[in-house]
């Protein structure tokens, strides 16, 4: 089973990288971009026996830092 884990900064947490990307887009002449937030995509290949609780534990214990980040799991 293929999993795609999207790790994103929580709303309200300042994202310096997103801000720099935003500025760079403006510098290239792309107008109309209101905000940019940068995150991570982590792809996992797991056995079908791995259940939701285990996947959730992986996210909480390592893949995301829940102090500042949210995560979302997508099954491919």
């Amino acid at each position: 089973m293929k999993l795609r884990i999207f790790v994103t900064l929580k709303p309200g947490v300042l994202d310096p990288q997103g801000r720099a990307i935003h500025k760079a887009l403006g510098g290239l002449g792309f107008d109309g971009v209101n905000d940019v937030r940068a995150g991570k995509l982590i792809e996992l290949e797991v056995e079908d026996s791995v259940d939701d609780a285990q996947i959730d534990a992986m996210c909480r214990k390592l893949l995301a830092n829940t102090v500042i980040e949210n995560y979302r799991v997508e099954r491919a």
């Binding site: 947490v13 300042l14 310096p16 830092n65 102090v67």
Partner: protein, 223 residues
């Protein structure tokens, strides 16, 4: 006096901390590999050094915080053994849940490497007893991810409980409320981004404001 320095793949200030501990305590620390599962018996102090453990992969300190030795470090911290995390060591301690908050990319996105003024916020802790409250000291920083973040309630609690040990005296990395170093609730775990071990010898470092952190610590643990 038994001290230990944890060494991760990618640590690069482990020897600096070892020199500082040896200089101040007179005894060389035990260097403990991250893959080990136990600290030396009767350990008095554990230091987690600066550097780039596991190449900062995933998040700074994230993989190091899950390495086998951290379970032993957590147990020692629970028993009241002082644990000092400097720079990457601070990142490891927050990732391990031993300290609140997180260290994010510097607000200016730059790697900041220079001497900065710090204010000693709490001079009552085991780590800061040789300083006076409000004292201004100069200590170098060298980091890319030192931007301290926590929710407002956590920040209020840290301030209210005197758990902010050091603050930056100027804008350095965007840290919330200019926080440079925080203590755990029991006061025996300190994490800070600046490098006190790089400021212990005036002839070599141009100042020795960091030395008193180690001196106070060793005095506290009864050397």
């Amino acid at each position: 006096m038994k001290t230990a320095v944890i060494v991760f793949p990618g640590s690069n200030c482990d020897r600096d901390v070892a020199v500082a501990l040896r200089e101040v305590s007179g005894t060389a620390p035990t260097m403990v590999w991250h893959g080990d599962t136990a600290l030396p018996d009767g350990i008095d102090l554990v230091a987690l050094p600066g550097g780039f453990s596991y190449g900062d992969y995933l998040r700074s300190g994230a993989i190091g915080a899950r390495s086998p030795i951290l379970r032993a470090v957590k147990d020692a911290a629970d028993r009241g053994v002082p644990v000092l995390g400097i720079c990457n060591g601070f990142q490891v301690l927050t990732e391990a849940g031993l300290l609140p908050g997180a260290l994010m990319r510097n607000a200016g996105l730059d790697f900041v490497c220079r001497e900065v003024p710090l204010t000693v916020d709490n001079a009552q802790s085991a780590f800061t007893s040789r300083y006076t409250a409000g004292e201004r000291i100069i200590v170098p920083v060298a980091h890319h991810d030192g931007n301290y973040a926590a929710d407002p309630e956590t920040l209020d609690r840290l301030e209210g409980e005197g758990r902010v040990a050091f603050r930056y005296g100027e804008s350095v990395n965007g840290s919330a409320r200019n926080i440079a170093g925080v203590l755990n609730a029991a006061g025996n775990v300190l994490g800070l981004m600046p490098h006190p071990e790089r400021r212990i010898d005036t002839a070599a470092h141009g100042g020795d404001d960091g030395r008193r952190l180690f001196e106070g610590l060793l005095e506290t643990v009864g050397v």
